[in-house]
Chain length 138, copies 4
């Protein structure tokens, strides 16, 4: 894997569980987002700076497949990486595993575009690619 | 009860439950907020207009007592009313009941101040009291 | 549309928004789930009864495409319908629209299986199809 | 401070923010709970084991005062400690601070009871006090 890659491990929060005794499926996109945040932090940048500069990364599509339930008491490892990068958007992929047993719990994907202060899609500026660790040919 | 009063009934969402099989305690402030939103809607106004005018109602304190668990499958009724209104803030009180049995599930209170676009506390403008149905002596 | 179809309208909750000023993308699966709950309520049944009988409907896959942001102040209409029904699972599709303008905000899909008390996938019993309003050939 | 004390630091998640650009007030109880979970983990025990043994720690009351907004981009430190321990319940107190500037963002309190498998309040067993690091006179 050549592109930017992130791995972050944390504990399931009790508030993330549901009456079925497992993590509610709506939580996984939150974990995916946390992996994206962590990627930028590990690169020494921060997504908050992107918004401060008037750019916003919006989600245009998300997809998740659930392989096994995550439960309270588990530590989970979320891995994320940029799968594709185009001038106006990019695709992230994710894998969630049980941190101790390495059992695969979920896989996912999100697609993103960059929008400006006025909510208009825009070309992603080179400094933003850099903040995300993506090398693109010009 | 003379002041503004609201009552709204809705179903517990599955996503609001936790592994204990009941509604997670962090959900009640969300329901309280929904009662405040509903109060303004019933008065023909809308909190979104308040923010559009550059004013924000912030929560400075919240308190909840839990009497009995709410569960998925229940419809709950949230009642809310303004308990106290001062020039720079107000207090809301709430009661959550099982809609069918009328069992009391929770009681709560939130305190609020008004802040301006710059995050500074400000005197609540008369039109805002009006939108909330609060009659105040001048 | 022949199969079971549901339409439910509600207001965006303030707690559902994020710092981008719009509904966070992780909220849409919660709305989809609420549409599924509402479908069963409109048919006079309730998903809580399904779990009480020892069956659980789990999500195995979810997908959402975001067309336009939902914001606080909007009422949204979620439409949901069963797209495919097999012996051990089914697919739901969804459409979220701005209730007043009818603008399409999001489309989505979830796939489900039925699991028993022991967490094992099982054939969906006829009474469960009935509760969901699905007519299946035998 | 003699009793059990915990300190845990993590980043604000984007999903925890609201349209006011700050962390929604309903998130703080989730952070408080995470501090309680972390306390037990630091003591080498785990709340999941408590539930596995048929005991549940329920929240009977919660209270939070908000001093300054937490925002995306912040790391926050949550400190928690047992304030009072009785035979059938205990009180936790919390402080949330900006991890870098040490600015106090919120203070809070939760009250808890122990309930058994049947939902009945029960005397907290000695081994549970031990798991939480509470020394109680007999």
């Amino acid at each position: 894997m050549d592109g930017p890659f992130v791995e972050t491990t944390f504990h399931v929060r009790y508030a993330e569980t549901d009456a079925m005794g497992q993590v509610h499926h709506s939580i996984y996109p939150v974990w995916f987002e946390e992996a994206r945040s962590e990627l930028m932090r590990q690169l020494g940048s921060h997504y908050a700076e992107v918004e401060a500069d008037g750019f916003f990364i919006a989600v245009t599509e998300m997809w998740t497949r659930f392989h096994a339930p995550a439960r309270y008491g588990h530590a989970v490892t979320v891995r994320g990486w940029v799968e594709a990068a185009r001038s106006r958007g990019f695709t992230f992929r994710y894998e969630v595993r049980h941190a101790r047993t390495d059992q695969r719990l979920a896989t996912g994907q999100t697609k993103h575009i960059c929008i400006d202060r006025h909510g208009r899609p825009c070309v992603i500026p080179p400094w933003l690619w850099e903040k995300m660790g993506v090398e693109r040919e010009t």
